[in-house]
């Protein structure tokens, strides 16, 4: 314990210095700003591309005139109870016709609309028309008013046909249309599979970016220190383990901070966009993809599981990056060092892409247990219900054991290689060095 404390003395100083320098680095700051801006822009973009036009809700409709030319009596006053935005509407029968309104724009002032219901006798179709003042653009609130009036008219038709209240409730109940192939219909998994694939794919991309960025930062920080011939100066004051742990923690805070900043940017953007437009379309789109809390275990436990897997997985990959960085001594080796970690990151990403496609619970369990793959697969497979909490717990234990072993290995390798100069060590040389250090320790 005392030895470990001695080996880690100064970690705090290394951590703060590395973090501060990362924050002062212009390219890092630019990356951070770009990512936060991307998160902020994503909500309005999603709203825009979902077809929901941005419009002001307040005072957009003040007065509703109705002109019912059908035979069905409609209680237009009920509109006020159908949407909070309609609560204060002035609703009155029009004294002018739709044609009058069209010909003379002055008949409809700002915030006024005319609802015209009629039967087109040429085609036998009933029409529900919403007529706006000239120069007024149709917004979300008009669409909702149109839906509300259509619903009232439907209700009036059914009541006129003699439907009881109960029958009315059944007939007016919500429904959803779906198109399925025969096999999809038989398996009844279509929506779930697509949603699972989407959630696994999206999550894997986030994890891949996180790991690639972290590994690159760690490798570059370690090689920079060795290439700058600074190591000797530092080793008078701190142990090699403190140097590598300080860096790993600093990069973790920076990268996770970047993710949190993006999430906060997204939340702020969602709140601000909501003032001007219906930002709920973002979640509606997600729900349309089938990502609902009914289908998935989206709860605080799932969030905790994801965070723990991210931390353990980050630890595993960053310690590997530390070992790879220690094998290099010049910035020329940076690319090849990065590549070896990227290969591992990509392996996890590919496994994540395959695991859902395989549609096998066995594959889901196996990939959730393998340490390098677990960060990608386990949280999503738990959320999808393909692995249970017991598998998650075993995976945590396995990951923790592997992380500890890698950490001890990293300490040994980093200590042995910190003064290493020359070309990057190959795996064979690295293994020989590890065995030599281990043998020496045993002899001692």
């Amino acid at each position: 314990m005392n030895r470990m404390r001695h080996n880690l003395a100064g970690t705090g100083n290394v951590f703060w210095f590395t973090l501060t320098q990362m924050m002062k680095n212009k390219s890092n700051l630019i990356s951070l700003v770009i990512m936060v801006l991307f998160a902020i822009a994503s909500v309005p973009m999603m709203v825009f591309f979902s077809g929901e036009e941005v419009s002001f809700q307040e005072g957009h409709i003040d007065t509703v005139y109705y002109w019912n030319e059908t035979d069905y009596p409609i209680s237009f006053e009920a509109i006020r109870t159908m949407d909070p935005a309609f609560a204060d509407l002035t609703i009155q029968q029009s004294t002018f016709s739709g044609e009058d309104a069209l010909e003379n724009g002055e008949l409809l002032g700002e915030g006024e609309v005319l609802i015209h219901l009629y039967l087109d006798r040429t085609d036998g179709f009933y029409h529900v028309r919403l007529i706006l003042p000239e120069m007024e653009e149709e917004g979300d609130v008009h669409a909702r008013l149109s839906d509300a009036v259509s619903s009232l008219w439907e209700e009036a038709r059914l009541l006129a046909a003699g439907a009881s209240r109960e029958q009315l409730e059944i007939a007016m109940g919500p429904y959803q249309g779906q198109t399925l192939t025969v096999s999809e219909f038989l398996e009844e998994t279509s929506a779930g599979w697509e949603a699972q694939f989407a959630i696994q794919y999206g999550y894997a991309i986030v994890v891949m970016i996180l790991l690639m960025m972290s590994a690159s930062y760690i490798i570059s920080a370690i090689i920079e220190e060795k290439a700058s011939k600074l190591v000797e100066l530092l080793l008078v004051s701190v142990q090699p383990l403190a140097l590598v742990v300080g860096k790993i923690l600093a990069v973790m805070v920076f990268v996770f901070g970047m993710l949190i900043s993006m999430a906060l940017g997204f939340a702020a953007s969602y709140a601000v966009t909501g003032l001007f437009a219906d930002s709920s379309v973002v979640f509606q789109s997600i729900e349309q993809m089938g990502l609902t809390s009914e289908q998935f275990q989206l709860n605080p436990l799932a969030a905790l599981i994801a965070v723990l897997f991210l931390l353990l997985g980050y630890g595993t990959f960053s310690v590997i990056a530390g070992i790879v960085g220690a094998c290099c001594s010049s910035m020329d080796d940076m690319e090849s060092a990065n590549m070896s970690v990227v290969m591992l990151v990509m392996a996890g990403y590919l496994a994540a892409s395959i695991v859902t496609a395989a549609e096998s619970k066995t594959v889901a369990v196996v990939t959730s247990l393998i340490p390098i793959l677990a960060i990608y697969c386990a949280p999503v497979q738990y959320v999808c219900g393909n692995v249970n909490l017991a598998v998650i717990c075993i995976s945590w234990i396995l990951q923790a054991v592997v992380l500890l072993a890698l950490f001890l290995l990293c300490a040994k390798v980093y200590r042995s290689l910190i003064m290493h100069k020359g070309s990057r060590l190959k795996q064979k040389e690295l293994l020989a060095l590890i065995f030599a250090a281990w043998r020496k320790e045993r002899e001692a």
Binding site: F17, T20, K229, L233, S237, I418
Partner: protein, 328 residues
């Protein structure tokens, strides 16, 4: 206080990097680690500081194994480095904090050493700028840029070396290890470094110094250890070593050719340039005999300097002898 190294050895595979190095400093002073290139000086220093694992041997400070916890060590490495893209001020504060110096104290010490080493303009550029010179209307961003601490890659090699010496001294170390401290410095900065080293000696510090500049070593050191091919070939108190060689070097300046007199008395001419001779004599009696013969022949002697061999001469002689014995 004491600094003791016992039986320090290191092998890389079959190659011996250092064999059985012992040294002992029971009082403040300067111990010189001398040796040919690749003799094992830097390896010895790295092993003393625990950067390299030892095959055998111990290093003690005050009877306890030397570590960051038992001894406040200042180290100027042979391979000097600084973070090229970080501000010098940030780096110095960081190095000081790693050595347990508080941020506020570190800033005070940086100020002192920056002033002493004449690098203040790189750490606090544009401090107290003259408004007439900087231009009162100059943009704030431009002024801020001017007052920002410089980065290492904006400094000359000599100035970088000064910053590195600052990092070694910033924690006010008890034990100071300087590996080739003067290499690459111009004469003005060499004098500045020499003055600072003298100050540290006067403060009662323990210094281990490795250098190829024998004159520098001779100026500071009380004890030496000479390494050749990873082995100790000479060790001890510098004055005693010199005394053991006797006064066998004679510098002579005359106004005419005296080669015949020199040969007659049996002395060996090492070099000769315009009647200035460097001779090797067997001892004081031979030198006196030569002087007597010159006076008897009416030759006027402008300079007659009989002395012990210099450290440089001892170094070359010992290494040459060792290499010869190895070859045979």
């Amino acid at each position: 206080m004491s600094f003791i190294v016992t039986n320090l050895s290191k092998k890389y595979g079959e190659k011996t990097a250092l064999k059985h190095l012992d040294l002992e400093m029971k009082q403040p002073g300067v111990y010189a680690l001398l040796g040919t290139n690749g003799a094992g000086k830097t390896t010895a220093i790295r092993m003393m500081l625990g950067m390299l694992s030892k095959d055998s041997g111990e290093v003690f400070w005050n009877g306890q194994p030397l570590s960051t916890e038992t001894c406040n060590v200042g180290y100027l490495a042979e391979e000097r480095g600084l973070y090229p893209n970080y501000s010098l001020m940030d780096q110095l504060v960081y190095f000081a904090q790693l050595r347990g110096v508080s941020k506020a104290e570190a800033k005070k010490r940086i100020q002192y050493w920056a002033n002493r080493l004449e690098v203040e303009e790189y750490l606090h550029p544009g401090k107290n700028p003259d408004p007439d010179q900087t231009g009162g209307l100059r943009k704030r961003s431009a002024r801020k840029k001017e007052t920002k601490s410089k980065k290492a890659d904006q400094l000359s090699k000599g100035n970088q070396q000064k910053i590195q010496l600052m990092t070694a001294l910033i924690s006010d170390p008890e034990l100071l290890i300087l590996d080739e401290p003067m290499s690459g410095l111009d004469p003005v900065n060499t004098d500045l470094f020499r003055a600072i080293i003298h100050e540290e000696i006067d403060k009662g510090k323990y210094l281990i110094m490795s250098s190829h500049q024998m004159a520098t070593v001779e100026e500071f050191c009380t004890d030496i250890v000479l390494l050749n091919r990873s082995r100790v070939i000479l060790q001890g108190h510098l004055n005693e070593i010199k005394k053991s060689y006797g006064r066998i070097h004679l510098s002579l300046k005359v106004e005419q050719d005296i080669s015949a007199n020199i040969h007659a008395c049996g002395a060996v001419i090492l070099s000769e340039k315009e009647y200035e001779y460097e001779l090797k004599v067997s001892g004081e009696s031979q030198a006196n005999a030569l002087l007597g013969s010159l006076i008897a022949n009416g030759i006027s002697v402008i300079r007659f300097d009989l002395r012990e061999p210099s450290l440089h001469e001892i170094f070359v002689k010992k290494v040459g002898e060792d290499n010869e014995s190895n070859e045979t």
